[in-house]
Point group: C2
Chain length 411, copies 2
């Protein structure tokens, strides 16, 4: 006797009953996701692939066309049988906006419903010099500019998400962001107010979490169900997707990989302890070790560029420091790997330009420390650039739509 071991993911343990609108929402989302992944496609394709009845698919597609989420393009040609009307995702009437604040820059990204990037702005910003209030005002202003651009282009904004390098509660309050000097900042309230209490949801989220979501949707390892993203900023944090879902932890504090003890040199860390990953491979620490002549650094971007130059030219101090940081990263990733068994660990932020020198040492250390050296996680540099968290912020909004929360008809 066969057993269908597929698990109903329908409901968690909350007492959430279902009714017919849930069926409809679920099926609309099924069609939408299929179209996103397989466009252009016909109604018949969708019916065949999803198992939905042809009549049902027609009804669902009509609904999505009404909402301007799908669009009919041409017909198929030169095929036997009646030609199929091709459907494509019509992303253009909608926009999702992601913002990011970090210690040294701010980013805004907007994408349409189809995931096409509509804008990508970056401005440098020294977070530690500003009060939380000033920073909130600045990020809100950036968000407002992005929103008004979208509105001007005739798009309906579906939502706006802000990424912050720190601990964020579900209610949008930033509990603690050491590299910004924030504590208990109600960023969501500030941004919502600055945007004039908009009718779309405004969310605040940890930057590593957003980055890993971006990576899973737009990175080189799209669709990987077990994925980790390491932020390579001043601090090092991990965003973790396991079983296709973001790990949030009990208090919103997972992914604190930056203060694992992995540094054989046992350097002093800003957190008060010794030997932390951040003290060995955090970008400030790395620059200090690789370019001891550099002195106090304020703007990191040119320093990293200089470090790349030195590494290219074979500067021994730089190469040694990079190797050692790579080893520390490999050690950290091996711990992650043994506990969580991800397919891929993506290095982001400033680690990306430095990856050619970090990865070999990291991979070596990773292999040496894995329980199953044949089955270690793949280490790779992100291809998304610095906007990863902002892109991820926008992506969460699309995820929400894809999960069945469709935007209402625009009248």
């Amino acid at each position: 006797m066969r057993h269908d071991v597929r698990v109903i993911t329908t409901m968690q343990h909350g007492p959430r009953p279902a009714d017919f609108t849930d069926v409809r929402a679920t099926n609309l989302a099924v069609v939408l996701r299929y179209a996103r992944a397989n466009a252009p496609c016909s109604r018949a394709d969708i019916a065949a692939a999803t198992g939905l009845n042809k009549a049902t698919v027609s009804s669902l597609v009509a609904d999505l066309i009404d909402r301007r989420m799908l669009r009919e393009t041409g017909l198929t040609e030169h095929r036997i049988g009646r030609p199929a009307t091709q459907l494509v995702l019509d992303g253009s009437p909608y926009a999702a906006i992601g913002l990011e604040v970090n210690a040294d820059y701010m980013t805004a990204v907007a994408i349409d419903l189809a995931g096409v990037q509509l804008l990508s702005w970056r401005r440098s910003f020294t977070g530690l010099d500003a009060t939380p209030n000033q920073a909130a005002t600045a990020i809100a202003a950036l968000g407002r500019r992005a929103v008004s651009r979208m509105v001007k282009e005739g798009r309906k904004v579906l939502g706006l998400t802000v990424g912050v390098p720190g601990l964020v509660c579900a209610d949008g309050i930033v509990r603690f962001a050491p590299n910004l000097g924030w504590r208990d900042v109600d960023l969501r309230a500030s941004v919502t107010r600055a945007l004039g209490e908009p009718d779309y949801p405004v969310t605040v989220e940890n930057d590593a979490n957003l980055a890993v979501l971006a990576e899973s949707r737009y990175g080189s390892f799209t669709g990987t169900a077990n994925l980790v993203y390491l932020t390579g900023e001043v601090g090092i944090g991990a965003g973790i997707i396991s079983g296709g879902r973001l790990i949030r932890g009990a208090r919103g504090f997972p992914g604190e990989i930056g203060h694992l003890a992995v540094d054989p040199r046992d350097r002093q860390c800003g957190c008060g302890r010794r030997g932390c990953l951040e003290a060995a491979a955090g970008i400030s620490a790395l620059i200090a070790a690789a370019m001891p002549d550099a002195g106090q650094v304020s703007d990191l971007e040119p320093e990293v560029a200089e470090l790349v130059r030195r590494a290219r030219s074979g500067d021994k101090t730089a190469l040694d420091a990079l190797t050692e940081a790579g080893r520390a990263i490999g050690h950290g990733v091996s711990i992650l790997g043994n506990l969580l068994d991800p397919e891929v660990v993506v290095l982001g932020g400033y680690f990306v330009p430095l990856a050619p020198w970090l990865l070999p040492a990291a991979n070596e250390e990773l292999a040496a420390r894995s329980v199953e050296p044949d089955h270690t996680a793949t280490l790779a540099a992100s291809t998304l650039g610095h906007g990863a968290a902002a892109t991820g912020g926008a992506a969460t909004i699309l995820d929400h739509v894809d999960a069945g929360y469709l935007p209402h008809l625009s009248r």
Copy 2:
């Protein structure tokens, strides 16, 4: 404008459309779970608490009574208004069976649908002395005895799950179980055959995963959404529940905490590396360090009892070894805690009787190594005893029912 941030958990990204039977299954499960948590309760209670219509609840309850999953008991008395008919979970017609093989014993547990334990058998068994085939035969025989007992008592068996200390594929093949000496053993096939190709599902699963599920259903921290269980057997493995879901990893290899480097003494481990947690706190290593006079140990249970005696009497060697093992555990848990941020880490297996001596050192080390010392995970000893994995195996079957896969009417 308010936003409903509740996330539809209805569907994952697979193209699984929904129809009316899903609505029915979802709502039956909602009622069942409510009754499990709040029995005795009336139809009106259920309607009020779940938001389902009273008429719908009546229909759902009738269905569950038909299936003999609910039962009407008396009426409420001495209350204003019409008295309510009380409903209770009627677990007795159904049984779920969990088995466990370990290096030194085998366990069988059966529970009814209401979670009442129906039997709990334990027999010692030296796994390494037997061939995988002999072991599979032995565990299957134990399972068969449990099943026939249940059938004799007039219960319908809902499923049988076997826990194994090792890597198990989704198809029930044990890829690797070092402490049993197994590699690529198709345990599910063996057990299924021995049971005569039954019409209920037979599943094989990692023991730590089952134990953490048991802990989340029946332990002292029931309902905790972020929970870790550490097996304290010959090996040390972690079962991880995060966000209410079991972490499975990419290759089924998560929770490999036993080989993290946490031992300051850097002892040689059986895995070939040095300084592993298992080499510092695994029960065999711990006994060797705490009772250097003990020599080669075959049966662990009396040795652990002896160790408890010595610790009670203040034996310095024993206490020092326990403190050191506790520190190693605390270090390992701190790593887990920083990466996953669980509410609770439960120590199981042989750690339970030793907990009074392990926990103080472990907690101390944990606090010292946590990023947020005020918010560390709670460390506690399991209250479930050695049958945790077997109980968890039975619990997975109830979970499956609770998730909406109701048993069919017995005709």
